[in-house]
């Protein structure tokens, strides 16, 4: 028995037929509990489901009608809004994080500890707690007096700076050897060039982490769009699910079709970038 495969339960050791059967049942049960509801969602979205009490689990009479009806209710527009928000939101978030990370990781300057404390403090200020004043701030941005209520920009800019991304970037940029930077400096490279051409290209794994986490974080937003969207034109897809459901002529099959469109992007991102995901989970949680 090699030490590398040793686990807490030592399940790999159990060999008998009974043990195997028990294991199979346990894993099948796990699969049904966690992935089952999502499979039901998938199947229902392609089936005629008119009964509000049911999801279809067995595929029968496959149809695209649910999607057609969902599109008639403007789901494509909401999907576009969601992509707009996640696209620009992520761009802004990544740009802000790499810039801040560079300063925090590669420079020593007076006030640095204070900045670090301020950034960590924002983790204690989730937008749930700030919901009410945030609507006032967004309705009349201090100094510039812009009203972002009812605009997609209002759902984007508050997400621009995210402490998690900045911390991941900072930690990673700290590990880039100083010699590389010095060599570039001796060759006459300017500050921005060093940032963009020396440090940033070496941080691709960290960019993957903050990209994947930023995407799922922004895609999952609910309260912020709910506060900002003053009319259905600026709804994102998650917001639209509720209005779809309340609509008396819409069947659960249609709600599930719209839900499928709402979950696919983040599920795909997770499935394609699992490695970045796992890395970020431990970075985010275990460093605490």
């Amino acid at each position: 028995m090699s030490a590398a495969t040793e686990t807490a339960l030592g399940l790999t050791e159990s060999k008998g037929a009974v043990a195997k059967a028990v294991k199979f049942v346990v894993y099948a049960g796990l699969f049904v509990v966690f992935a089952g509801p999502l499979l039901a969602l998938l199947v229902s979205s392609f089936n005629h489901v008119s009964d509000p009490t049911q999801l279809s689990i067995v595929p029968k009479s496959p149809t695209l009608d649910n999607f057609r009806i969902a599109f008639d209710h403007g789901v494509l527009k909401y999907l576009f809004n969601s992509f707009f928000v996640v696209g620009f939101g992520l761009l802004l978030q990544v740009a802000v994080s790499v810039l801040a990370g560079y300063a925090l990781a590669r420079k020593i300057f007076p006030g640095m500890t204070l900045v670090m404390v301020a950034i960590l403090a924002t983790m204690m200020l989730p937008e749930e707690i700030l919901a009410l004043p945030l609507t006032l701030v967004l309705a009349d941005l201090p100094l510039v007096h812009l009203n972002l209520m009812g605009t997609l920009a209002g759902m984007i800019v508050p997400l621009g700076a995210w402490a998690f991304s900045i911390l991941v970037m900072t930690e990673f940029m700290k590990d880039v050897p100083k010699e590389l930077e010095e060599a570039a400096r001796i060759d006459g490279a300017g500050e921005f060039r060093i940032f963009a051409q020396i440090i940033l290209p070496l941080c691709k794994p960290a960019l993957g982490v903050i990209g994947v986490f930023g995407f799922t974080m922004i895609w999952d937003q609910y309260l912020l769009p709910l506060l900002v969207a003053t009319n259905s034109d600026s709804y994102t897809l998650p917001l639209a699910l509720r209005t779809l459901r309340i609509d008396p002529v819409v069947t659960p099959g249609v709600v599930m079709a719209a839900s499928l469109l709402a979950l696919l992007p983040s599920v795909m991102v997770f499935l394609f970038f699992q490695r970045s995901f796992a890395r970020g989970l431990t970075a985010g949680a275990l460093k605490g």
Binding site: A3, E6, T7, A8, L11, V26, Y27, L30, F34, L38, P52, T53, L92, V96, L99, A100, A103, L104, R106, K107, I108, I119, T122, L125, I129, L130, A131, L132, P133, L136, V137, L141, P142, A153, I156, V157, P158, G160, A161, R185, I186, G188, E191, F192, F195, Y222, L227, L239, L241, R245, P252, M256, A262, S266, V267, F270, L281, A285, L286, G288
Partner: protein, 320 residues
């Protein structure tokens, strides 16, 4: 558009440092300090700091200031001191919402951690099958919360042909009203929360399990320890820091839960699932009582702060 305004200013490339040709001694220790003007780090930090000030610190200051005023749009606010706090603390609605929030946070935190720990033990390992099961089990975490709520809403259908009622009917239970019955509504929301929270905890536990010295397991086996003893004396102590972190994360998440409650029950039936956040939302945005709502938000903030600080202190003491 305003979007441009918030976009990070591109820092202009700084002039090459004057001593660029200098080489050799002293470069190492001085590299970070002499690398440019004092304002360069602030230029790089500016976008982040501006956004944090606008969307975190100003709103927080405003929450505190609104909580001691009567907020009257167009008329100007009037100072009311602690009246908002007195009002919200003495209201029956806030007290029951606080109680519901605590129950929900406890249920979700311990449910997710217990289930997540069990799952992690079951799926720990390197085989292909396990990787597949792990990914499948993790899916609920990446599904948007709004979708989770809509999906569970249908599954919780209160009649006997609802999906979950059929499942519990197989073992002779039900039909339950789930989210439509004041007795089971809060527990139902907790179950949905655990479904989404347990796989997340599982992943963190797995990372923690990977950090446990394999040699300890072997030693324990050689010493004739049973599986139970191995978990009790090797696994659990090794995971202690993970438990502490997950506890804080999950408890804070539970304190501020909003979306799942808002979409599944919106506080009903009969106020049985009203939590602090849904109450604040209703006070502030539906009844326009921003002062009282802000007082509630400040209290919620203080509660999460106290919880985090306490756990950190406990961790520190134990570590020393």
């Amino acid at each position: 558009m305003s979007l441009k305004e918030a976009a990070p200013p591109v820092p202009p490339p700084a002039a090459p440092p004057s001593g660029a040709r200098r080489r050799g001694s002293g470069a190492r220790s001085g590299a970070r300090k002499r690398s440019g003007k004092w304002w360069i780090p602030w230029l790089f930090l500016a976008p982040a700091l501006i956004l944090f000030v606008y969307f975190k610190f100003i709103p927080m200051a405003q929450a505190v200031s609104m909580s001691v005023q009567e907020v009257r749009p167009y008329l100007g606010n009037t100072w009311v001191g602690t009246a908002n706090y007195v009002e919200i603390l003495s209201s029956e609605g806030f007290r029951s919402a606080t109680w519901n929030t605590i129950l929900l946070a406890i249920g979700q935190t311990f449910g997710s951690m217990a289930l997540g720990f069990g799952l992690a033990l079951l799926v720990e390992g390197q085989t292909r099958k396990l990787t597949f099961i792990r990914s499948a089990a993790f899916l609920p975490v990446v599904v948007p919360i709004a979708v989770v709520a809509e999906l569970w809403r249908i599954m919780y259908h209160p009649t006997s042909d609802g999906l979950l009622n059929q499942v519990i009917g197989l073992i002779g239970l039900g039909p339950s009203g789930f989210i439509n019955d004041p007795d089971t509504s809060l527990a139902s929301i907790a179950v949905t929360g655990i479904w989404r929270g347990a796989p997340y905890d599982m992943m963190i536990f797995l990372a923690g399990l990977a950090g446990i010295d394999r040699g300890l397991y072997e030693a324990a086996t050689v010493d004739g320890a049973s599986t139970k003893q191995r978990i009790l004396h090797v696994t659990l102590p090794g995971l202690r820091p993970v438990f502490a972190i997950l506890f804080v994360l999950a408890a804070v998440r539970g304190f501020r839960s909003f979306t799942e409650v808002f979409l599944l029950t919106n506080g009903g039936p009969n106020g049985s699932t009203e939590v602090v956040m849904t109450l604040i939302y209703k006070l502030g945005l539906e009844q326009n009582r921003l002062g009282v709502g802000s007082a509630g938000a400040v209290l919620l903030f203080v509660a999460t702060l106290i919880l985090t600080v306490c756990v950190q202190l406990l961790r520190k003491r134990r570590a020393v």
